[in-house]
Symmetry: C2
Subunit: 361 residues, 2 copies
Amino acid sequence: MFKISKKSKKSKARIGVLKTKHGAIKTPFFMPIATKGAVKAITADEMRKLKSQIVLSNTYHMLLRPGLEILKKAKGLHKFMDWDGPMLTDSGGFQVFSLAKIRKILPHGVKFRSHIDGKEFLLTPKKVLEIQKIIGSDIRMVLDVCPAYPCTRKQAEDAVATTTKWAHESLKHRDKDALLFAIVQGSVHEDLRLKSAKELVNLDFDGYAIGGLAVGEPCQDMMKVLDYTVPALPENKPRYLMGLGYPEQIIEAVKRGIDMFDCVIPTREARHGRIYMFKQGALRLYGSTAFNITNSKYSKDFTSINSSSKLPELRTYTKAYLHHLFRTQEPLSIRLSTLNNVEFYLELMARIRSAIRRGQL
Amino acid sequence: MFKISKKSKKSKARIGVLKTKHGAIKTPFFMPIATKGAVKAITADEMRKLKSQIVLSNTYHMLLRPGLEILKKAKGLHKFMDWDGPMLTDSGGFQVFSLAKIRKILPHGVKFRSHIDGKEFLLTPKKVLEIQKIIGSDIRMVLDVCPAYPCTRKQAEDAVATTTKWAHESLKHRDKDALLFAIVQGSVHEDLRLKSAKELVNLDFDGYAIGGLAVGEPCQDMMKVLDYTVPALPENKPRYLMGLGYPEQIIEAVKRGIDMFDCVIPTREARHGRIYMFKQGALRLYGSTAFNITNSKYSKDFTSINSSSKLPELRTYTKAYLHHLFRTQEPLSIRLSTLNNVEFYLELMARIRSAIRRGQL
């Protein structure tokens, strides 16, 4: 299921292959986000052209819209959104805590009201796996309790206890068609993180995610959590750092042994005109930078958006044109910037894998 | 320059070919609108895939943003927006009257303030042709006075007089690289339309547009204007009805001898989820219909957006998926609906040409 092909001698970084029902994925990898069943402004076919290995979608959003009835009729999200590669779905735990209007943690699940229409839902460990089965994702996440940052020690303790209890319950509803991942909680408390990791590792999941990070804590605190949590996870299982992050953070996390990432940064920042690119002369390395295309200096920059892009539109259109599209609020702006940033993140991961292979990271 | 290959025996419709510097165009044709240098949400390459023969852009918008300095540096709009086919630009006359904050008609031109930042501009017959030369369009329009509807007879008279005077002035600044079209005004007054047509025809332009229609007057009044104006235009020159229209209006105008159309309907209505399609079983005919994809009945319609589209994305994605994208305000929704509607309008014109060729229109 997960095979490591090389371990770095310089750090805890490793490269490998994770097998799923819809194909094998080279690790470490990044998952572009299709929250509502589409990567913002771009088609599934473009995701294939960009060689995206996997996309991520959200149980919470899919449950609300289009809803389970439509997903069943569509024969799953793969078919609905025309994506034939691997797909990971989160459990909805994070969205219940960050988006839902009112929520109440009960012993057996979490009750909440939709942020769209106020409709009441109950998610249980069993229910979120049933929903993910209807979605048809290849990697599924257990329901967890993700406290806000900062939170009290008591809240962090309770989150760990409930997350473990629900993870245990989730195993009863395991589906042989998909990989099942547990989520380590514990906020920024070393003892709680280690407790959470130990309890979940004992239950033997297909992979382990680290949740409750990249939620507002200082970056060095996050790295400290990785420093002590990753060694508590099994070597031979994939490790997923949820919700991260900036390119340099991803590199730091890879060095600490993380294999999987997802983040809204490339797509969300694209919508605000923030463009990621590799530093000049850094062709085989991963030194990157970002700039705001709306800055007036780009009005006269007639160089390509990305002269080495896989996509002709990013090679042909200039920064000056993209600047103009943003200034005039043309919707093509978001499409081009999103394509650029998703391609950048995918290429970043390819360069990271290559650097590990060459023993340079 | 313009060659008619067949005239209908049933109506005044005709088919032909209009030659421009960037290629020949089969008439009658429709011009998708790239107001600000991009057809909403879609790339120039997609316009090529859809076999669009020409695009239309706006002098007024291009003057304001990106402005002439950028257009010069970009070496024209063709290169800026990656469009290598024919391009028509209007003169800005219509936008000055419909968009600009304050405008004042002077004997030698029109002064106005930008609707964006209030900056003052003066457009003269000479200036609008200089701007269109910088844009680099293949078909250029003279500066006209386009009164609102309804207007007084005096306003219509003045508009005709000034339009003729400016058309005369425009001829001094003719550019051999482009076709130059005059614009017939006169509101809904037969004598004024005939006067305007006669005066402009005497000046011998490359083509004649009928302006000041599709601005709110009843459809039968518009058709009446065509009935008496078209015969006053030369047989051997292309005739352009500005700003029209719905599919059935285009068919009626073609029957009255019109060769060229432009309209925001396919792109603007796409953004509101209105989807154009041909009636079932009407494969070689031009019977069409439109529906609102946001209507709940489409939530479970798993048929293709358009199973006979040139574009794989419109064949693959379902109406249910497009409905979902609109309901969740995903930007991919606008892209797919715009592609669909532009393809529909281009196909409508192809079917109209084919029907004329077969002697059926």
